[in-house]
Each structure stands twice: as C-alpha cells, then as structure tokens.
C-alpha cells in the first residue's frame, strides 16, 4: 500500500550532511598524514564523546524550537560539585551528585521556559551567567584538584572490553537518544510541540509538561558529558569548557537540524559531531595553530548549512532525476 521509496527515494532520505561527512572523510584520508589509522579513529571518537553527548541534549531542545546556552556552565558546575563531593563520599556518589546538579539546572531552565514563558534564548543565557557565577564563587575562581584515584579517572580515561569508556557511553547515549526520539510517545510529542505549539495544544498534548521534561531529558545527556570531562581533567573548574554551547549548536546545525524546531534526527547529530571532530583532529595532525580551528569551524558551519538548505534542484540526485526526465521519450498520445 505505502509507496516504496525506491533507490533514489531511499538515498534522498539520508541526511545531506552525511554526504559532507563522506567527502570530508575521503579527502582527509588522502591528504592529512596519519589521519587514516585505527588509533586516530579511536582518538577522534574518544575526544568527541563529550561533544557528542552534550549535542544529543542540545538536539532535544532545538527540536523543541528552543536553544540551550547554559550547557557549558552546567558542565563546569558539575565538575566542581563532583570534586567537592569526592572529598567526603565515594566516587559513584560524587558523580551522582554532579549528575543531579545538571538535572536541577535543566529543571530550572524547563520551568522558566515552559511555565514562566521566558524565551529560551533569554532564559538559558541568564542561566549561563548565573550558573557560571555560582561555580566561580564556589571555588573562589581557581580550579580545585580531585584526589588521585583510579576510580575517579575511569569514566574519562578507562577502558571496558578494550574500548575507551567515553566511546561506550557516547554509543549508549546515541542508542537511548534514538529510541527516545523515534520510538517513544514522549519523542513524538517533542516533535509535535516543536513543529506547531498551538496545534499541539489544541490536539490535547500537555505542551508545558513536554517542554519541561524535554529540558530535563536534555540535561541528562549533558550531565553524562560533564562527568566524562570531570573524570578526564580530574578537577573542578569554573571555566572548564566555555565554548560548549556554541559547539553543540554548531554540531546540530552542521548535522542538518532546523533551528526553527520540529525536525532533526539522532543520525544528524552523530554526523554533525563527527564532521566537527574530524576537522579539529586534522588541524591538530597538521600542526596548525589552534586559533585556526575556530576560523575553520566558522567556515564549515556556513558551508554545511548553505549546502543543506540549498534547493533540491542543485543537488546531484535531483540533477540526475531531471536529466532522466529530459531524456525520456515523449508521450506517444
């Protein structure tokens, strides 16, 4: 009954950003020395796991037609809380405390946006500053070191089944994210609210509750990202990763999520993060100054988004389809 999409149709359903990733991978493999190596791939995945998990959270918020600027501050406070806590409780308990503090920040964001009706941009920007201020005050502006402990390092530096733990956590996060968005009722409601809030309300969807829970769920992914980073640097720092909000938004945009909300997939987030991670990795491999990284990243965001929002008629597949149409023999009527 349903029309089968056919070969071209199925290719069309693949996010355009995947083509960017494939081309980028091929070019870097050929041109960047030491890029094409299993150890380098592992390195890319390990380093990108933090951005991956935080971007998965950001994606939920973006699909809800919102945006989350406080992720960087939240991760910083997470590190400080965990390092403070580990001085008096066990490592798992300390990490649980770090996890909870990020969820609390997510819940505050959700409350401000869903119930107090603040614009997401404003609410999360204010939370960025507020949480950053709290984090700085808590440590008097200076980083605090975690006591040397193998169990504290495990999440960021350890291995399980021969695979780095951050990679396993990112993979687990991707699976959870995929199931949440495309298999659950909650995920469907997130898309509907992001697509047309008024229509969702009139359909009987609890719009406010979905938004609130969306910000909390997003915070869950950000929290895991924060714990990996805390474990890796083994310290609590107020300025741990100030660019995280911008990097996560960039990853979502490069992957092809619409910042207007209502659409986007887990696969697109994965692709967006990998594009940025491969880029950063190559800049390091080429021994280019890190300042270079930011400039190139800006360029890539523009290029990737322009490429994806360009009308279909310019894309390779449509050109082929149009060509096939033209060369088709005229009707014999």
């Amino acid at each position: 009954m349903a029309d089968s999409p056919g070969y071209i149709g199925r290719l069309r359903m693949v996010p355009k950003s995947l083509w960017v990733l494939v081309v980028q991978f091929a070019v870097f493999s050929l041109l960047v020395p030491n890029f094409f190596a299993v150890s380098n791939f592992e390195n890319i995945l390990r380093v990108s796991s933090i951005l991956m998990l935080a971007s998965l959270g950001q994606a939920i918020v973006i699909i809800l037609a919102g945006v989350e600027f406080s992720v960087g501050s939240a991760v910083a406070l997470c590190s400080i809380v965990a390092v403070f806590a580990v001085q008096s409780v066990s490592v798992p308990m300390a990490f649980a405390a770090g996890f909870v503090i990020v969820l609390v920040i997510g819940a505050i964001n959700g409350t401000l946006i869903a119930y107090a009706k603040l614009p997401p941009f404003l609410a999360t920007l204010a939370m960025l500053m507020l949480v950053h201020g709290v984090a700085s005050l808590a440590v008097g502006g200076l980083p605090i070191e975690a006591p040397v402990s193998e169990s504290f390092y495990w999440m960021g530096r350890g291995k399980a089944f021969g695979i780095p733990v951050p990679i396993l956590l990112a993979a687990f996060g991707l699976v959870v994210h995929y199931i949440l968005l495309s298999k659950t009722t909650f995920g469907r409601q997130i898309y509907l609210v992001g697509s047309n809030e008024r229509a969702a309300h009139l359909s009987g969807i609890a719009v406010n509750r979905i938004k609130f829970l969306g910000y909390v769920a997003a915070a869950g992914f950000v929290a895991v990202s924060g714990l990996i980073l805390t474990s890796r640097v083994a310290s609590g720092q107020p300025n741990l990763i100030p660019n995280l909000p911008f990097e996560t938004i960039s990853a979502c945009a490069v992957g092809g999520l619409s910042l207007a909300g209502g659409r986007g997939s887990t696969l697109q987030v994965l692709v967006g993060v990998l594009i940025i991670a491969m880029l950063n990795n190559s800049i390091v491999l080429l021994n280019l100054p890190t300042a270079f990284q930011l400039a190139v990243l800006g360029f890539v965001i523009i290029a990737a988004v322009v490429f994806q929002t360009t009308p279909d008629r310019f894309s390779f597949l449509s050109m082929r389809a149009a060509f096939a149409q033209k060369t088709k023999p005229q009707g014999d009527a």
């Binding site: 009954m1 349903a2 029309d3 298999k183 659950t184 009722t185 909650f186 469907r188 409601q189 898309y191 509907l192 697509s195 047309n196 008024r198 229509a199 969702a200 309300h201 009139l202 359909s203 009987g204 969807i205 609890a206 209502g262 659409r263």
Partner: protein, 504 residues
C-alpha cells in the same frame, strides 16, 4: 449618482483581471473594478476574499502577478507606496498614521516633510492658509497648533483625510474608516465623503457594514475567493440577499441529508460570558444533533467554538457535559472528555507541517496507540486506515508529509484526527470546508452526518450558508457576542442571510 447610468465620464482608475500569487497560493484570481470621478465605490467581501491584497496592490505596497492597472487611461505600475501617493492615490487606513505628539499643522505637512530640504515645509503664512483650506474641506474646525493627541478619534480620522486631500488626490481609498467611530462621528464622516465625491474625487470605500454602504456608496464590487463576483453594480438595483450570497458563496437548493432525530442533551452552556462586558449566552446540544452557529466576522461565533473546545477561558457561566460540570476546562481536559475541535485556521492552529499525514492525524490519540512509553506504529496506522478510506484521502499515503497534500486533504486529516478521539461525544467544527474543493467538502459533510448517526453532538460554526442549512437541526445567529435568533431546521439560506443582517 448618475455617473453609472451615464458612463461617458472616463474611469480614473481601471483594474482589469488583476491577479496576485504568493508562492503557490493565489490571493487574487482575477479582479475587475473601475473607479469614476465623483463616484463612491464600495468594496465588500469576507475576510480572506482578497480585499486587503487588492488594497496593497492599489497603494503600491505589493505588485500584481498579472492583469492591468490603468490610471487616467495610462498603464501604470507602482514600485512603492510613494509612487502611488505621487500618482494621487491616497489611502486612509482604520489604524491612523498620524503623529500624535505633533501639531495639526505639522501633521498636515508630514508627507512633504519627508522629502523637504533644510526648512520644514509648514513655515509661513501661505502654508497655514493651505492647511486651513484643507481642514475646511473636511469640515474640521480645530486650531492648527493643537496636538493631535488632544483630538477626538473622529476628528483624527477627518484630519487624516485632510492630509491626503492636501496633496493632489484623485482617488481616495478608505479601509473600514468608521470601525472605531461612534454613530455620530460616523455619520459626519459619511457626509464628508459624499461632499468630496461631489467635488469630483473618486472614492473606494471598504466596509463590512451594508447599511453604511447603502448610505454612502453609488456602486459596489464584491470579492470572493480572490475574484470580483459583483463588479461595479449600482447599489439601488442590488438586494441585501444578492450581496450576502455574493460574499459568502452561492445559495444552492438545500440538499436533503438523512439526519437523525436528536436524542438526550449532551452539552449545555449556561450563561457563558466570553469577553469582558459581553452578554451571557446559553444553549444546549443533543446527541445526534447538528447545532449551526453563524455570524459575520467578529460576531463572536468563533469564540463560542473555542470555549466549547476548552481552547478559551470563559469569564463566567458554565459548560456541562452529560450533566457534569466541566471545570476546570482546558483543551486537554476537553479531549479527555471526548470533545473534538477543528479550528478555523488549519495552518496556524492545526497542522504539523513537516510531519506525515498519519502523525498529524494521531496527535490526539497518542496514548491510545502507545504501550507503556512506546508508540505502536502498526496500531497507529490501523487506527486510521478505515477513516482515511472513508474520507477518500487522496493520495491515500499516510506516510506522505502533510504539506504535500492539497488544502482539502489536509482538512480531511484534521477531521480524522478529531473523529478518532477516544469516546468522542461532541465535535466542534469551525469553517470545516473553507477554501476546500467540492469533493473534499462532500466527504467532510458525509463524515459529519455519520458522526451524528453514531450519537455524537455536532456544533458547526460556519459562514457557508449552504453547508449550514443542509446540515443543521437548529441555527443560532450570533451578533456582537450575543445569540440574537434561533432558526429551525430546513430554513432557507435566504432566511439565514436576512436574519444575520436584520437590524436590532
């Protein structure tokens, strides 16, 4: 008023077959209209008929996609609003464009100030004399130094006209000029308009109010669905019925639908007040009954629908469903109690643009098609396969994105969404077939009839007289937020039209 009978006078403005497309949607499909000097030309039409698009074209705010546009016999095309003003087309909008903190004199010269050099154009006694003459032309006696904020609304309206006249004004375009005025001010304005016409100005007068139009206008053009359906007809030869039929659509012979006999009362609204200071409304709907509600735009008919659906707070009074008081009553509560709602604007309030027809349809029954926290795609699809077939969804591809369906098929999906609500008791539909093709309209009407046979109570809020009279068991006429009359089943469209326009 003799100009129409003696068309020797040349039209100052000729509009022929003007079209306007916004992307794939056609706002104007072909409008003809001729304005003659000394004639007041009324322009009528329901909201969405294309009046505002036509005005935007006339004042140079947007350019037509087709058709011709002649001023004094010469073909013109305006690139901007200032082009149109230079050509002598002066628009007066219902929201005034005066500068409230400046004086009457400064306001009269505000167009010239925009293009003046170093010195403001209103200095000197000559400027003051001209200004006084303009005020006299509209019969306005205020001091030139007075701040506009100290003037009454009616005076401001006249000042706005005086400002337009001070330029060379060949066509005066008035968009609902009396909307904010009281009866006395309105009468004075109409007198001024007649006076200006006598001086030879061509006037285009846009209004919903048919009594006002009868007072002031010579001829009338009616737009419907972007087309001029009545074109410059003399008002004295045009009946109210003809105007209403032209505005709302044809009044076909009533098609006999097999409607059931209403049963028990399902929904009862008691002393419901919807706007501050509004009159309370009370009515009841029974199982298997279609209650029609009709009123002109702004009459409060749509608000009644919103309140019944839980989409609007009621200020006082109550809504009871099956004898049980529904309070608090949010849209979510309403869905749970089995109240479906098809809103008037399907794009703003109904559709999830990037989603499939199926996920658009299932939005109100996500709980029913889920198990624990997970959606059941097979169950979701199965819930709608019969319904989509009955509504003849075309193409019947539930996975296709909603934006790739025609307006009629999008509307079918919205109807399906509400018919699927678990334990549906009441179905509130607002303009369910507006902008929908005939085929889809029939299918949606069939679905309404079927719902009544299944014992559901239907509230049908529509300005489509044919739809209303062929389906409704009873019809409530709403004016100024009040139910002014109730008409029985099988009333003719003419009865309804007359009841709507009756004066209090």
């Amino acid at each position: 008023m003799s100009e129409q009978s003696a068309p020797v006078e040349k039209a100052v403005l000729e509009v022929t077959e003007v079209k306007k497309a916004y992307g794939p949607t056609l706002a104007l499909t072909g409008v003809d209209m001729n304005l003659y000097p000394g004639q007041v030309h009324a322009l009528m039409g329901e909201n969405g008929a294309g009046k505002s698009t036509l005005v935007r074209i006339l004042v140079g705010a947007t350019r037509p996609s087709g058709g011709a546009f002649r001023l004094n016999g010469e073909r013109v095309s305006f690139h901007s609003v200032s082009d149109a003003i230079k050509a002598g087309i002066v628009p007066i909008y219902q929201h005034l464009t005066l500068f409230n903190e400046l004086s009457v004199l400064e306001n009269l010269y505000s167009f010239d100030t925009a293009t003046a050099g170093l010195l403001p154009p209103y200095l000197g006694s000559a400027a003051a004399e001209t200004a006084k003459a303009s005020l006299a032309r509209v019969g306005l006696s205020v001091s030139l130094e007075q701040k506009v904020s100290t003037l009454k609304l009616g005076e401001r309206q006249l000042l706005e006209i005086a400002r337009g006249l001070q330029r060379n004004c060949t066509v005066l375009l008035l968009d609902e000029p009396t909307a904010a005025l009281n009866a006395h001010e309105a009468d004075r304005l109409l007198e001024v308009i007649r006076g200006l016409a006598a001086e030879g100005v061509a006037i285009l007068y846009i209004s919903h109010k048919s009594d006002e139009i009868r007072k002031v206008a010579d001829v009338v053009t009616v737009l419907r669905d972007g087309r001029s359906v009545i074109c410059g007809a003399p008002l004295k030869d045009t009946s109210v019925d003809e105007l209403v039929n032209a505005m709302l659509g044809h009044a076909f012979a009533v098609v006999d639908k097999q409607m059931p006999v209403p049963g028990e009362i399902v929904l009862e609204a008691k002393q419901m007040v919807l706007v501050p200071g509004g009159a309370p409304v009370s009515f009841a709907v029974a199982a298997g009954e279609v209650l029609g509600v009709i009123g002109l735009v702004g009459s409060g008919a749509e608000e009644i629908g919103q309140a019944l659906a839980g989409a609007r707070d009621i200020l006082s009074g109550s809504i009871a469903i099956d004898g049980q008081l529904a309070h608090p009553y949010s849209r979510r509560d309403a869905v749970r109690m089995g109240v479906g709602y098809v809103p008037p604007d399907r794009h703003e309030d109904g559709l999830f643009e990037l989603h499939s027809a199926l996920s658009n349809a299932s939005a109100s029954i996500l709980k029913t098609v889920s198990k624990f926290f997970f959606l059941q795609p097979k169950k979701e699809k199965a819930s709608f396969s019969r319904r989509f077939q009955a509504l003849a969804l075309n193409p019947n591809e539930p996975d296709r994105e909603i934006q790739h369906f025609s307006g009629g098929n999008q509307q079918k999906v919205l109807v399906a969404r509400n018919l699927a609500i678990a334990g549906l008791r009441i179905l509130v539909l607002t303009e369910p077939t507006r902008g929908v093709d005939v085929g889809a309209r029939d299918k949606i009407h069939d679905a309404i009839v079927e719902a009544t046979h299944a014992g559901q109570a239907v509230v049908l809020i529509t300005t489509d007289l044919e739809e209303l009279t062929s389906l409704a068991h009873r019809t409530l006429i709403v004016r100024n937020g009040q139910i002014v009359r109730e008409l029985p089943q099988f009333s003719s469209p003419d009865d309804v039209a007359l009841a709507m326009l009756e004066q209090e």
